[in-house]
Amino acid sequence: MNDAIPVLEMRGVRKTYGITQALKGISIQLKPGRVYGLVGENGAGKSTLVKSMCGAVKPDEGELIVAGRPVTINSPQQARELGISTVFQELSLIPDLTLAENVQLQRQSGWIRGRRPRITYATEVAATWGLTGVNVDTRIDALSLRDQQLAEILCALNRPHRVLVLDEPTSALLPADVEWLHAVVRRVVAEGSTVLLITHMLEEIERFCDEIYVQRNGAIVDHVDRADFDRGQVIEQMIGRSLESAFPPIPPIPSESEVLLEVSSLSTRGLLQDASFTIKAGEILGVAALDGQGQNDLFEALSGDLRSTDGSVRLRGLPMRLRSPAEALRPGGGRAGIALVPAERKTHGAILDLPIRKNVSLPILRRLGGAFGLRDSKETEAVSTLLEAVQVDRLKIDDPVRSLSGGNQQKVVFAKALAGDADVLLLFDPTRGVDVGTKYEIYKLIAGYARAGKGILIYSTEIPELVNICHRVLVCYHGRLVAERHGAELNEHSLMTAAIGVIK
């Protein structure tokens, strides 16, 4: 079997976004009749790899060889014609059309006119793949996430597939559905096609795959057979080594420190369920999770951006009503509130075309007012103090935020979050897209706030970061806080193990 011509081969594929190298010369071979696994941390470049394989992203360099023939794939349509059928991580069915219409639209050839014949056809297709009880006349956006995921897999199966690429297909599925998918994968392989499975769940890799590729930082770092697969070793390869010296010391929490924020059984309409934890004054609490495990909901609910459906939040013992970011920032009664440094600083954190001055003073405008509107002198004074705290040149106060580097933009967002003197800072991936030097400064800022008696909740996609700057780290998995690590237990291995759902 191993001598067969690879059905799909990538040779030295590179892709660069700006200064980030997403793919650094990837070479892989997929042979017919086998199931391949691709694992790696968030941001390792797995999705870029998948997208360059199926036409959604065009690689800068490198060769793509399908069944022995070099090809260039310019569009998803072309990839389909070559028999590469993909289930994308972000679902790609059309929300405003019914499932039956989507099945039609996703077919490679043939067109069935009329609603009823279409319904019959789609129901039949679903039945061939073992899906029953499907109301195919339902609009996609009226389906649950799990049903959408199943529908997406169904559509991919209904196209001619020499290679079936499944990018995180099980994130919304129930355990019984994973069994079903396993049977489906076996059948696809038995028919002579190849499956590439991208997943965070190592037990799925163990069950499904014949060979496993490990990706880290845009490069393939290992390629093992199922027989040689060792979970511990693979996790180590996924996270790589960490640089201890890149982090400032963590300030100790004073022993007499009181509980600042108390969250009990917080739930949202989306993913988050029953989250309870406390943050003491001066504590840095981390949240570790893979993409989309409910951490977004947690941060949005606490910052007032998303209404919670259940649970309560108390700040310094008094209940908070979190119906809007304004209420989170200014809970009333002269209390300090909760401020968020959001993930997307370019869209949510700062108004890029306004000067730094206006950005930073936005949350505190009412404090800068005089008898005749805004007092410029007051504003300059307040903003300069804040800029000094975050180490941004105060002479740049009138420059637009856009003119700054990524790292300095992030510092301005920090200054803005600090402006309101919030008691609790929520930091959602604060070092994303920030260069190494500025990262260190941001860590120092975080440590500084903790020393000043504020509480900090930080989520980061980089697990080493959490290990090295937090007192305690919670692990979020499938919308629940499943583990808490501190002290000696707080290491990359234990966090990663819990984050992929394997709790020892």
């Binding site: 929300p95 639209l105 996703q106 899906l131 499907v134 049903d147």
Partner: protein, 335 residues
């Protein structure tokens, strides 16, 4: 009751319920206040011919709205085709048909041009079409600097025919029915599904193998053709040309599209809705007239109608369509 549930739900989801309801309610008031309104000739003048131009412009706009854009070029296309027809129309029947064909072609070409610019340069449709609308409006002024009448034609005239009737059936009604039938056919075709897909979610459509660029250029082209038809309709209705007339249909078309239950932003609604919306927007004025309101109430009434339609539509969405998403699919073993 259960038998009615699914089709009822589909009617609500399609967005047709609101314009249908409005047309029915308005017609009921109209007929009860003015009993001879249902008389065929009355119906032809006050309902069909009065709303024909607006309905055609709204139908064109609806297609662009469905693919997720906004199109301001209807004003320019209507003006330029109206001017072209006013200046050149006349002579033999063949010549007359030639110029009607040219008018439609001008519409289609300007639509394709819009689509091409939008796609190639990845620009906002609303800005591009504003530009082309100005340009076409300018051409209209060059062709026909001031309002003029059509040259009277001996015998059969296809332009006049558009607002006349066969055995009491208004031709305008037939035109609208033809467009409705065309829409239904298109909606069943691959192009129709792709059109909705592009408006619903461009990226997902592209991932689904839809050629987004081609589909949207095609959509703009169809829209342009319908604007061309609207230009012919207005020429027929007024028996003359006025280079400044086009813009008065622009905002009306937007109102009709919104009343017609289309979602600005794309993917939801139908051309039938837009046509019904145009009828509703037009007859609300007749209704006010027969109820004895002064004419300046008509703009207020249009505004109220628009907000009311939005309100009812969003109530339907919130109360009826946002049902609990159950897990319906059962997975089974593979044979």
């Amino acid at each position: 009751m259960r038998a009615l549930y699914r089709p009822g739900l589909r009617l609500l989801e399609s967005g047709l319920a609101v314009p249908l309801l409005f047309v029915l309610v308005l017609m009921t008031i109209y007929v009860s206040a003015s009993p001879n309104a249902l008389d065929p000739s009355q119906l032809k003048y006050t309902v069909i011919n009065a709303s024909l131009t607006l309905a055609l412009a709204a139908a064109g706009l609806a297609i662009v709205v469905l693919i997720g854009g906004l199109d301001l070029s209807s004003a320019g296309v209507i003006a330029v085709t109206n001017a072209l027809l006013t200046v050149n129309y006349g002579g033999s029947v063949a010549n007359q048909f030639l110029w009607i064909g040219i008018a439609i072609l001008v519409g289609i070409l300007s639509g394709l041009f819009n689509g091409l610019i939008v796609h190639v340069f990845q620009l906002e449709p609303v800005v591009v079409t504003l530009g082309t609308s100005f340009i076409l409006g300018g051409f209209a002024l060059l062709i026909l600097p001031k309002p003029a009448g059509l040259t009277p034609v001996e015998g059969f005239s296809p332009i006049a025919f558009m607002t006349s009737d066969i055995a009491g059936v208004p031709i305008g009604l037939l035109v609208l029915l033809t467009i409705t039938a065309g829409w239904l056919l298109m909606r069943r075709s691959r192009f129709g599904s792709q059109l909705m897909a592009v408006g619903s979610d461009k990226e997902a459509a592209s991932n689904s193998g839809v050629r987004v660029g081609l589909v949207s250029i095609g959509g703009f082209g169809v829209a342009g053709g319908l604007y061309g038809l609207a230009g012919i309709a207005i020429t027929s209705q007024t028996s003359g040309g006025d280079p400044n007339l086009g813009s008065s249909y622009l905002l009306g078309a937007f109102a009709a599209v919104v009343v017609g239950g289309l979602k600005l932003g794309g993917g939801r609604g139908s051309i039938i809705g837009a046509i019904l919306g145009a009828v509703a927007v037009t007859i609300v004025i007749n209704v006010l007239f027969v109820l004895g309101f002064a004419s300046f109430w008509s703009t207020i009434a249009r505004g109220v109608l628009l907000l009311l339609a939005l309100g009812v539509q969003s109530a339907i969405t919130v109360l009826l369509l946002r049902r609990r998403r159950g897990q319906s699919i059962t997975v089974g073993g593979l044979s």
